[in-house]
């Protein structure tokens, strides 16, 4: 029997060759800073962006803090030490795009996004999705700006928001993730170059999905984007980010910070489909993805929902969190994290209950294949004043093969006896029974695995905006090709 199975595994491995179809490199002239990080580099970034004085001070303060901070080592991940002096902190295409007209955008850039399935010409776009395209350190184009501004919605690169709405940026930047929050957040605060800024005014339901598409192209360049989303009282917005990078043998650093602020009765739905280059099957290359994402439900009945599908990156270190300040506020975290080959993921969430009658839901689905290592790390904290806090956590792990690993680290800190916390965790393998059952119905082995895995992720996928749920499923299929065995 084992011999027969081994034979089968060999056949499968031949099929495995995972294709990373976004791995191409755009040959474009770029203006890239020389590698290295010091105060001068930060001043140059700030000057390049023509930033107001408060921004430069903010950056320098963050940089000084960062220099004193130790690199965190508590996550269940293993990688060589990063040389922060070996990274370039700013890169932009030489032919600078002017954002009001596509004619000024380098055709090579348009082509790049076209190839990635993100056309930037409005007539070609999905009718109800506005896109901000970020290429290395700068925003290339934001679509549908007019439609949005009619509704009073501000959606623009954060570098532009600093010019046009400096008071708004100043009011909110760093209020959810302060620069000293953690090592990578401090680094980001010091060197971030671009990202998206969203403001939804009182009572406005954003008329379309907003999305940012991040692309790293330049070699030895880090990407440090900063996203800030504010939903004022009673506002609603659904935002999606996608990420890809060329296939390169060197590791590249991506350290982003995302801050969400939901005022009274506001709702922010934030979805991520992360497909950074994961490295090859031997673990060579790939993106190091160290990201801090946090939202605060500031007012009563505010709601923040994180949905993430993490299939890329060599390393993922990411804990999208919600601070439930307002009474009756709601936090949600839905996650699918897949690790294949030598990928490692340490991801989860923090739900901090502070207001009364707050509730949170955590649904985490980890899939490990090949030598992939997948850890869920989550904290549910109920502070003293948080009467009647409720949390439901479910962490399921699915293993494909016997060389991968799944780990669950749930933490609970409860200071209020009225809290009601439920935690469920399961670990399972795709069983031979399930595979045979589906194959007996006429599905190929690959189709059977895909069906079982997609079923496993269903509770998360159904939280994604329609247009992207299908994409996420396909992505999972590609990432898993031949993963059985």
């Amino acid at each position: 029997m084992s011999e027969a199975l081994n034979e089968k595994n060999k056949d499968l491995k031949a099929l495995v060759k995972r294709e990373y179809k976004e791995g191409f490199i755009t040959d474009i002239e770029s203006d890239t800073f020389e590698p290295g990080l010091n105060e001068d580099v930060i001043r140059r970034i700030s000057a390049r962006k023509n930033e107001p004085e408060f921004m430069l001070e903010y950056r320098l303060k963050a940089f000084r803090r960062w220099q004193k901070m130790p690199e965190p080592d508590w996550a269940h991940i293993d990688y060589p030490k990063i040389d922060f002096q070996d990274i370039a902190y700013f890169s932009e295409p030489k032919k600078k795009p002017k954002l009001d007209s596509l004619d000024d955008v380098d055709p090579k850039l348009l082509e790049t996004y076209e190839k990635l399935g993100i056309p930037l010409e409005e007539q070609k776009m999905l009718a109800n999705v506005a896109v901000d395209a970020v290429f290395d350190s700068v925003s290339v184009r934001t679509t549908f700006r007019e439609t949005l501004s009619k509704a009073g919605v501000i959606f623009m690169p954060i570098s532009e928001a600093l010019q046009e709405h400096p008071e708004l940026v100043k009011q909110y930047l760093g209020t959810v993730v302060p620069p000293q929050d953690n090592y990578y957040a401090a680094l980001n605060a010091a060197v971030f170059s671009d990202g998206s800024f969203v403001y939804i005014p009182k009572g406005v339901r954003c008329p379309m999905e907003l999305s940012t598409y991040f692309r790293i192209n330049e070699m030895n360049t880090g990407q440090f984007e900063r996203t800030l989303i504010i939903a004022d009282e009673g506002a609603y917005v659904s935002y999606l980010e996608g990420c890809t990078a060329p296939q390169r043998d060197e590791n590249q650093l991506h350290a982003a910070v995302v801050e969400l602020i939901a005022h009274k009765d506001a709702e922010i739905k934030y979805s991520t489909v992360q497909n950074w280059y994961p490295g090859d099957e031997n673990g060579k290359g790939g993106i190091y993805n160290f990201v801090t994402k946090r939202g605060v439900c500031k007012g009563e009945r505010a709601k923040i929902s994180w949905t993430q599908v993490e299939t890329g990156s060599a390393i993922t270190w990411k804990y999208p969190s919600v601070v439930l300040q307002g009474d009756h506020s709601v936090g949600e975290f839905y996650s699918v994290a897949l690790t294949h080959n030598k990928q490692q993921a340490d991801t989860g969430t923090k739900m901090i209950h502070m207001g009364k009658n707050t509730s949170s839901t955590i649904i985490s689905k980890g899939i490990s294949a090949g030598h992939g290592q997948n850890a869920y790390r989550g904290l549910v904290k109920v502070t003293k004043g948080a009467d009647n806090a409720r949390n439901f956590s479910q962490c399921d792990s699915l293993l494909l093969g016997d060389r991968c690993g799944a780990h669950t680290f749930p933490y609970m800190e409860v200071e209020n006896p009225s809290a009601n916390l439920e935690h469920e965790a399961t670990t399972s393998k795709i069983s031979e029974d399930q595979l045979f059952y589906l194959q007996q119905r006429g599905l190929s082995e690959e189709a059977s695995v895909s069906m079982i895995v997609n079923g496993f992720c269903k509770e998360v996928f159904r939280e994604l905006p329609m247009e992207f749920a299908v994409e996420a499923q396909k992505l999972l299929d590609v990432s898993l090709e031949g993963a059985v065995g």
Partner: protein, 251 residues
């Protein structure tokens, strides 16, 4: 349709089938009876192409071709269907989605276009009535939280949808109360047709009161030791499997 000659099958290097012969023609219903451990389930698994069942000697011919050359999914696409003794749960995958994928996989194999959403819905509603399955079951995850009877009815629904040439029913009666047994049998009988063959594997005679076979075979110690018509099942019921031991010794 199915010609098995001198079939020897080992599982984990342990010989289970030891020289089994069986011929099944289109339109026929055969019942394979035998005590626990006689190799009944091994027979249905090896025909369906499950991994780990190694044919060490003999042959299985299906529609004139060597069946052992094909993978399990190819056999399914060629028209072999196994109704499982223990149907498997697939969380998060709806019955509908699974069946639609299965039908389309089969169609693709035969170079046909995918079934339209409308045709599929019409078909599944019609077939669900056959096994008295409520529409809501179709949307639920495959077999998840189903009772024993519901699982077995679901197997027959799948069989009705996939319209196999050769249907293998592995202990379809196990775990069924009399009402469920009637519904399941009714479903199976409705699927009897001149160009479809069925092989029922069962421990008890009672299923055969509802699905009347054309032939009955007694399997013991990896071989078919006696064949006959329906009356053989009754005789077996009356005399018990101990009788078989006697037959074997005499043989």
């Amino acid at each position: 349709m199915l010609v098995i000659k001198n079939l020897h099958v080992s599982v984990f290097d342990t010989p289970i089938l030891k020289g089994l012969d069986l011929e099944v023609k289109a339109g026929e219903v055969h019942a394979i009876m035998g005590p626990n451990g006689s190799g009944k389930s091994t027979l249905s698994n090896v025909i369906a192409g499950r991994d780990g069942y190694e044919v060490t000697e003999g042959s299985i011919e299906y529609m004139g071709n060597d069946l052992t050359e094909l993978e399990a999914d190819e056999r399914a696409c060629e028209g072999i269907f196994l109704a499982f003794q223990y149907p498997v749960e697939i969380p998060g995958v709806s019955n509908m989605a699974m069946l639609k994928a299965a039908i389309n996989s089969k169609r693709k194999y035969h170079g046909e276009d995918e079934i339209s959403a409308g045709d599929f819905l019409k078909l599944i509603r019609e077939k669900a009535d056959l096994v008295e399955m409520k529409q809501e079951f179709l949307k639920r995850s495959v077999n998840e939280g189903f009772s024993g009877g519901e699982k077995k009815r679901n197997e027959i629904l799948q069989m009705a949808m996939l319209e196999p040439k050769l249907a293998l029913l592995d202990e379809t009666d196990s775990g069924l109360d009399i009402d469920a047994l009637k519904v399941v049998s009714q479903g199976v009988n409705a699927l009897r047709s001149p160009d479809r063959a069925m092989v029922l594997v069962t421990h008890y005679q009672r299923l055969l009161d509802y699905i009347v076979p054309d032939f009955v075979h007694v399997l013991a110690n990896g071989r078919i030791v006696k064949s006959g018509d329906k009356s053989l099942a009754l005789e077996l019921e009356e005399k018990g499997y101990g009788w078989i031991d006697g037959l074997q010794k005499a043989g």
